[in-house]
């Protein structure tokens, strides 16, 4: 009998082992190469980095070409021809992984009082990213984006109008949170060393940017938002601007796009800067013997010899390329939202009567700040106070209101060089300045209009495969046009 018991015991033992093993199945299924949970701040830090670490090809290939900053034979943007691989890249790079990480951490932070300021910062950055996405593509998935966790696999598209309304609400709510939690550090902060005050200025500046964006579609709301933003306190100097300090491990996204031989400065930019005597020109570009990837070296930084690329084939060949030593290094700091833009927007707002103040002071502050900000770049290219003063003396804000708005936004254009070409494209669509002459030799797609600078980025082709119903519905707002057609304009650009 004793033996029998032993046998039974051994069988029971096996059974018990089986049952107890069930518990460790869960941990066994976690990726042994991965980490099963991380602090939200780490994901936020990554989202901030990825906002400018991803390939910048839509900016170089399209925005730089549209805004006549530069030219390359390799750029489809130069001739306004459509390349889905390039036009879809912001959609793919920002939704996944940036929006994914932001949407993942929001619910984790929502009910954690000790992370209130971080929660606000994440919401502010989400506004920053989504505004860029909607300004680029128009109506986009917003309320249902990044919701794979709720099994939303084919998100609905929201109208730009409703997205803007929500972005405004988000900024207001975030500002309230930051006002109440001003002493809390923002976790994973790449810009302000955790300072809630810095994020509040960024939020207010975004509200200013959004407000000014609405001047065509809703001037009254534009005025109110700009006033509200200024009351909350926008950025007041370069120290307030969010700058991402890249390094070799996580290079500035332009690193992937400016290394090749193909970035010549455009004649429009070179000519303008020569005329205005702009000391930034020989920082932006230099005369090279050949492309950087071919071991090109600088031959000259004497701007008088600079020749930009011209649409007119009778013009001399270009010799001026973007300065690789400044803009190409992996560690080039990225200006996410230059303070100069805040100043220029305020200058214009004063002229439009949205706020009170000295338009000229804002104008000069914008130019000065932008010239000074270049010292943050590799090699610390410095423009002296005397050079700045000389430039300001030569390029005074004067003339009719419209002429002044032209001047301000042309300065906005010059200041946005390299980093903020997508914002400059949006600003150009908003104001019509600077006045650019489109490339006459454009390629016409099935529905593109020839000789017109495009005003909306088409939807990615992958949407028509993976989210076909929603993208086709959204496309109706643009007359079914998914091409570079002048008739396809975003909501605020009517």
């Amino acid at each position: 009998m004793k033996r029998r018991l032993k046998h039974i015991a051994s069988i029971l033992f096996i059974t018990l082992v089986l049952v107890s093993c069930k518990k460790d199945l869960t941990s066994y299924n976690q990726n042994p190469d991965g980490v099963s949970s991380v602090k939200p701040g780490l994901l936020f830090s990554n989202a901030l980095v990825n906002s400018s670490a991803q390939d910048m090809e839509p900016r170089t290939n399209y925005c730089h070409a549209f805004m006549q900053y530069g030219y390359s034979a390799f750029w489809s943007g130069t001739t306004y021809s459509l390349s889905d691989a390039i036009s879809s890249r912001y959609w793919n790079n920002w939704y996944n992984p940036v929006v994914r990480n932001l949407e993942f951490i929001l619910p984790e932070l929502k009910n954690d009082p000790s992370s209130a300021s971080t929660y606000a910062a994440v919401r502010i950055w989400r506004v920053f990213v989504f505004q860029k996405l909607t300004d680029f593509y128009g109506d986009i998935p917003y309320s249902q984006a990044g919701q794979a966790s709720s099994m939303v696999y084919m998100p609905l598209y929201d109208t730009q109008q409703s997205i803007y309304a929500d972005l405004i609400n988000e900024l207001r709510a975030s500002i309230v949170i930051l006002n109440n939690n001003g002493t809390q550090a923002v976790q994973g902060d790449q810009f302000y060393s955790g300072s809630a005050a810095g994020w509040k200025k960024l939020a207010a500046s975004l509200l200013l940017r959004i407000g000014m964006r609405l001047i065509k579609i809703d001037p009254a709301q534009a005025a109110a938002l700009v006033q509200e933003a200024v009351n909350e306190g926008v950025m007041t100097g370069n120290a307030d601007m969010p700058v991402l300090k890249h390094n070799a491990a996580v290079p500035n996204g332009f690193y992937y796009n400016l290394g090749d031989q193909h970035f010549f400065l455009h004649k429009t930019l070179v000519t303008h800067m020569k005329v205005t005597g702009d000391p930034r020109l020989n920082i932006y570009g230099a005369v090279y013997d050949k492309g950087a990837n071919e071991g090109g070296v600088v031959l000259s930084t004497d701007t008088s010899g600079y020749t930009g690329y011209s649409f007119n084939s009778a013009d001399p060949l270009p010799n001026t390329r973007v300065t690789y030593s400044v803009y190409h290094p992996q560690a080039t700091a990225f200006f996410e939202f230059p303070y100069a833009e805040v100043a220029f927007l305020q200058a214009e707002a004063v002229l439009r009567g949205f706020i009170t103040g000295d338009a000229n002071a804002f104008y000069e502050a914008g130019i000065t700040a932008n010239m000074q900000s270049l010292a943050l770049l590799p090699g610390n290219p410095t423009i002296s106070a005397a050079q700045i003063a000389a430039y300001l003396a030569k390029n005074k804000l004067a003339g009719t209101i419209d002429q002044q708005i032209n001047l301000i936004n042309t300065e906005f254009w010059v200041a946005g060089f390299v980093f903020d070409a997508d914002e400059v494209w949006a600003n150009w669509r908003r104001t019509g300045y600077p006045a650019l002459v489109p490339n006459p030799a454009t390629i016409t797609g099935p529905t593109s209009s020839p000789g017109v600078i495009p005003r909306k980025m088409p939807y990615p082709q992958s949407e028509f495969t993976y989210n076909p119903v929603n993208v086709n519905n959204a496309l109706k707002a643009y007359g079914g046009l998914n091409d570079f057609n002048a008739a396809a304009r975003v909501w605020w650009d009517k």
């Binding site: 099963s36 959609w91 949407e103 993976y466």
Partner: protein, 1145 residues
């Protein structure tokens, strides 16, 4: 694993205490009957009892309470005053008889032989009424002491059991006749052996000689054509390459469709790694092998193929694609030493490609190259065969010199390039048996110098297996198989520009001598690198070294005659080191590439089973239940670097650019419990029920709503209607009906249910992290399941002269787990979903005819046939466009899985080609036609359907055929005359298509016979031609000549080439195998130490009786997974001739 060791130790210690307590017992029984008391003693000791039931007083109850008493004293106590006494014979056999009776022990000596008077070795001799007995030795002889007038039962598997009553000392000659069928013992799921009659499902068992005589490095390849419903495709991927084994059609969309391989009760790793796609994986293009070739065919005793879900249901998940059970050899159960020696030598010759043209030679667009052509351009070195008619004229050669214009046939080029392959295998096995067990040790080495220069295969095996009985109750069986497999310079299959073997023959001009490519400069660099097979030999190194340990332990303890406990543990440990290197002077990787990879795979299983068998009157009950723990890990580590400093050194210090290290470590566990009960009635009706519950780590998650288990039931019924209805055995000797239903599944891909994060580099002093899942892990995933119903019958006519086995099955597979692409705005690239279902239905037929059967001559004929029809029945809406596996191979609803889709040739209502008018000289006026591409939709009247503007609706994604065969079969004929045997196998696969991309290139280079049609410009197709465009079609009667150059090449643009031109029927009939054997008669060996000696001549893959695919082998495929059916020009088929010597000392 620790657990397994602990369990083994635990049971071993128990065993030890039992094994040596043979003569004393501890019993406490109250009012028990005789039988119970005796049974108690039998359980604890090695004593057996014999008595006549008539003479034992049943009603007498016994009270007994002894502690560690010698058995004899206990017996004295039991029989005191009972009127009975006992006597002890040899081997603890105790005879009980009434006092006064005389019991005399008699000595019986005997010999057991079969009908041919050949000794039956290992036949069981038992004393009736007891479990005492012995087995026959190597000469069929036995010796036993039994009580006088006792009865001996003589049995041997596959033979009718005989009973002989012995009076007095006797010398017996016992001849056993084969049993009339259904008594064969078959190894079934979990290694349980069952008589064939008890099986309600289809199962095929083959002997080890089927895989060891006419051998291939991977044993499973030799099963091709031998088992109905088993399709083996062994693409010519080099020795040790993967085999594609499909049982009853596809069972899964995304997972493996390869069966589970179980060796001696332990599942092993047999991962078929999908052939990597060149486009996605930079250094792909060879078959990494599935590891199955490490098994030495000489060690295989038998192979059981569990085809259906009912047969395999006890394996639950992982058995979705069927199970192949391999039993390896044990030591013989006979005294003394035995030595087996087998030597096998095989010569291998590549069979030159057929279907190439030799009429037009090197040149372009109907002219030979001139100096004006840029002959330094790579492609013109070897050139295309679009030149002029070959007439021995002098033309400008590839090296810029004038040469004779003479075709180089494939045979000539093969002779120059390939060598004769030579494989030798030597195996030696030693078997020694003692009183309580046996040991077998086997050593084997295989060395294969393949026909491809520089390529080779080596395998070394060392196996030790020991079986022991401890006191008749505890049985152990331990095995260790250590192997080392080397695959040297595994051929590159697909033509990327590193050069592959097959590429040159189809992508070069037919007048360019192959030795032209074998030219080097002073620095040892090849002058020409385009499609150069010599570059692949010398400048590419692609080696794999695999070390493997397969170990298993099997411990059985007989708790009683009816109750047995069994514990099986096993481990399969595999470590594969890979080296891939490309030296500079190679078109694609000019700077040099060095890549090393290490793959470690481990799989452990522990299984405990309790078996209970009993019979009550007309009923038998066979049950078992138990649990299993399975654990599998797989880790890979890849290091690589490019651009060598020294072009000759393979060393990581020598690379100038290092690539990121790649690792992956998928792992999973499955915990299971299972049980089976089989109820038999009158040995002719059996109902079996099984159930298994698997808990998967792959479906476990810390997140809510995950169900991590699944239950797999099965039921089957076997009805021996000939026995039940007492049908005249002279005509229908035996007949069985089978009905079965069962469910199996597959283990889902691991590490898919939880979000996982990875750290990202520090920026600005801030660390970062990101979600690392590419596919979003949703809740509610279910494992894939396959439910199969089968009915079948097995009939033996005329005393087994005609054997017939038929099965019909219908299987439905559900909940396919597939990665689904998601739009980027979801935040993820994809997710896993239960996304589809499919069905397979088919029939299988096996016919065996013993056509002639006499003492000196026999003729056996075996025919098998299997038909399977697969259909994808549903896919979720986001997969409306189907699932793409590999280029043109897809799964789409309404079509079989693995169907070919692509651009069709354009045909009209009458099925005739529609042509397209083109201009070949740049002018606006068409001057030639080609067959148009893009399918048209035709209305009822046969007119093409157009859109509102008159433009043709063109279908460029048409179904072009299924890659699966409609049916397959084989015929084996075996003749025996005295000591000679002669056998041959013809097999084939019928229906099914292949997308032969290699053919497209052969056509592009003007090398196919099809490219000859119309070369001289005289062929004017009689049909309609579109002289407009698809947007504004205008069909008129054709008057223009056909241009094959435009059709297949079009100036290098392939502008008019339709996918359908690459699609061919896969149908083939192959003269697969022939063997001639001679067994030296025993009487010639009497004075030698040799017990038996057999010499055989074997040839395999002799020729195709029928083949529809030009140039290539219809079994070639880039992908051996679900992308099977797309080939980029496989290696040529090889033919082997061999010699086998088998000796027993």
């Amino acid at each position: 694993m620790k657990l397994a060791i602990a369990l083994i130790l635990f049971l071993s210690l128990q065993a030890a205490t039992n094994a040596y307590s043979q003569t004393t017992v501890t019993i406490n029984l109250k009012s028990a009957d005789f039988k119970k008391a005796l049974a108690a003693i039998e359980r604890q000791t090695s004593y057996h009892f014999v008595y006549s039931e008539r003479k034992i007083p049943f009603n007498k109850k016994i009270d007994i309470n002894v502690d560690n008493e010698p058995v004899t004293r206990v017996l004295d106590q039991i029989f005191a005053n009972s009127g009975f006494t006992y006597t002890e014979l040899q081997n603890h056999l105790v005879v009980i008889f009434p006092v006064g009776d005389q019991v005399k022990a008699v000595k019986v000596k005997g010999k057991v032989v079969d009908e041919g008077e050949k000794p039956l070795i290992g036949a069981t001799i038992k004393v009736k009424g007891s479990s005492a007995g012995t087995t026959t030795d190597a000469n069929g002889g036995f010796f036993i002491d039994i009580p006088d007038a006792g009865t001996l039962t003589i049995s041997y598997i596959g033979y009718e059991t005989k009973e002989i009553t012995v009076n007095g000392d006797a010398q017996l000659a016992i001849m056993l006749s084969p049993s009339p069928g259904l008594t064969e013992v078959i190894v079934t799921a979990l290694g349980i052996k069952k008589e064939e009659r008890r099986l309600g499902y289809s199962i095929t068992q083959l002997g080890g000689d089927e895989v060891s005589l006419a051998r291939e490095p991977t044993f499973v390849n030799t099963l091709e054509g031998k088992v109905a419903g088993l399709v083996v495709q062994s693409p010519p991927n080099g020795p040790g390459g993967s085999s594609r084994v499909i049982l009853r059609g596809y069972s899964s969309f995304g997972g493996s469709n390869q069966p589970l391989y179980v060796i001696d009760g332990v599942p092993i790793n047999s991962v078929t790694r999908e052939n990597p796609d060149d486009g996605a994986k930079p250094y792909g293009g060879f078959d990494p092998g599935d590891g199955l070739s490490s098994i030495n065919p000489d060690d295989i005793e038998s192979v059981s193929v569990l085809k259906g879900a009912s047969a395999a249901a006890l394996y639950g998940g992982g058995a979705q694609a069927g199970v192949i059970l391999i039993s390896t050899k044990k030591g013989l159960k006979k005294p003394g030493w035995d030595v087996f020696f087998n030597s096998n030598t095989v010569l291998e010759k590549m069979v030159p490609y057929d279907g190439l043209q030799y009429q037009y030679g090197r040149g372009d667009n109907g002219r030979v190259y001139t100096a004006a052509d840029n002959i330094t351009n790579d492609i013109f070195q070897t050139g295309e065969s679009w030149g002029v008619k070959i007439q021995g004229q002098q033309v400008l050669g590839a090296d810029g010199k004038m040469e004779s214009y003479v075709a180089q046939t494939a045979t000539e080029r093969f002779d120059k390039f390939f060598r004769t392959g030579f494989t030798t295998t030597n195996s030696i096995a030693l078997s020694k048996s003692g009183e309580n067990g046996s040991t077998r040790v086997s050593l084997s080495d295989t060395k294969d110098n393949t026909p491809i220069p520089g390529s080779g295969y080596e395998r070394y095996n060392a196996v030790i297996r020991s079986t022991q009985d401890y006191g008749g109750k505890l049985h152990t069986d331990f095995k260790l198989d250590a192997s080392r497999t080397l695959r040297l310079n595994i051929p590159l299959l697909r033509g990327d520009d590193r050069g592959s073997f097959s590429k040159y023959f189809i992508r070069s001009a037919n007048t360019t001598d192959i030795s032209f490519l074998d030219q080097k400069d002073a620095g040892g660099n090849y002058l020409y690198t385009y499609t150069n097979p010599y570059v692949d030999i010398e400048k590419v190194k692609n080696d794999q070294t695999q070390n493997r340990i397969l170990a298993s332990g099997n411990v059985t303890y007989d708790i009683s005659d009816h109750l047995h406990a069994n514990l099986v543990t096993g481990i399969d440990w595999l470590s594969t080191a890979g080296l891939f290197a490309v030296y500079p002077n190679n078109k694609a990787d000019n700077g040099g590439v060095l890549q090393t990879s290490t793959i470690n795979q481990q799989r452990t299983d522990v299984r405990g089973v309790l078996t209970y068998d009993n019979s009550f009157h007309d009923f038998t009950l066979n049950t078992f239940g138990g649990g299993e723990l399975a654990n599998s890990t797989y880790s890979t580590l890849t290091l690589s670097g490019i651009n060598f400093v020294d072009p000759t050194l393979l060393n990581f210090n020598n690379v100038t650019v290092g690539q990121p290290i790649q690792t992956s470590v998928p792992r999973y566990k499955v915990n299971s419990v299972f049980a089976e009960a089989q109820l038999g009635y009158k040995n002719c009706l059996f109902l079996e029920l099984t159930g298994r519950n698997d808990w998967y780590s792959s479906l476990a998650s810390s997140r809510p709503n995950f169900t991590d288990y699944l239950f797999y039931p099965s039921a089957n019924l076997s009805f021996i209607f000939t026995d039940a209805l007492q049908i005249n055995p002279a005509i229908l000797s035996s007949g069985k009906l089978r009905v079965a239903i069962g469910e199996t599944g597959s283990v889902p891909p691991p590490q898919q249910t939880d979000l996982s994060f990875s750290f990202t580099p520090v920026v600005n002093g801030q660390p970062g992290a990101t979600i690392s899942n590419v596919n979003y892990p949703p809740s509610g995933l279910k494992p894939e399941t396959t439910t199969e119903t089968e009915i079948g019958t097995q009939l033996d006519f005329f005393g087994e002269r005609l054997h017939l086995d038929f099965a019909y099955y219908y299987k439905k597979s559900n909940n396919f787990l597939l990665p689904i692409s998601l739009p980027a705005e979801t935040g993820f690239s994809g997710t896993y979903q239960n996304a589809g279902s499919m069905t397979n239905k088919g029939v299988e037929l096996l016919i065996n005819v013993k056509a002639i059967k006499s003492k000196t001559f026999s003729w056996d004929l075996t025919l098998n046939y299997a038909r399977n029809k697969n259909e994808v029945t549903s896919l979720i809406p986001s997969l409306t466009n189907g699932v793409s596996y590999y280029y043109n191979i897809k799964a789409q609803v309404g079509y079989p899985l693995g169907s070919i889709f692509g651009v069709p040739e354009r045909r009209g209502a009458d099925g005739q080609f529609l042509y397209k008018a083109i201009s070949t000289d740049g002018s606006a006026v068409p001057n030639a036609v080609v067959i148009d591409k893009g399918g048209l939709s035709l209305d009822k009247n046969g007119s093409p359907i157009t859109d509102g503007n008159g433009a043709l609706l063109v279908n460029n994604n048409a179904y072009l055929g299924s890659a699966n065969p409609d049916w397959s079969g084989g015929i084996t004929n075996t003749f025996r005359y005295k000591s000679f045997s002669f056998s041959f196998l013809i097999d084939g696969q019928f229906g099914g298509y292949v997308y032969e991309d290699g053919y497209r290139w052969a056509s592009f280079f003007g090398n196919t016979i099809a490219s000859l049609k119309g070369r001289d410009g005289s062929y004017i197709p009689n049909g309609l031609v579109n002289i407009g465009t698809d947007a504004a079609p205008n069909y008129v009667k054709n008057t223009l000549p056909y241009s094959p150059y435009q059709q297949y090449n079009a100036g290098g643009t392939l502008a008019y080439y339709a996918d359908e031109m690459s699609v061919f029927s896969r149908t083939f009939i192959k003269f697969r195998q022939v063997s001639l054997g001679y067994t030296i008669p025993k009487n010639l060996l009497i004075k030698s130490p040799v017990k038996s000696l057999t010499i055989s001549l074997i040839a395999r893959n002799l020729f195709f009786i029928k083949k529809n695919l030009p140039i290539f082998d219809p079994e070639s495929s880039d992908s051996i997974g679900n992308g099977f059916g797309y080939d980029t020009g496989g290696l040529p088929t090889s033919r082997t001739y061999g010699f086998n010597l088998n000796a027993n000392f």
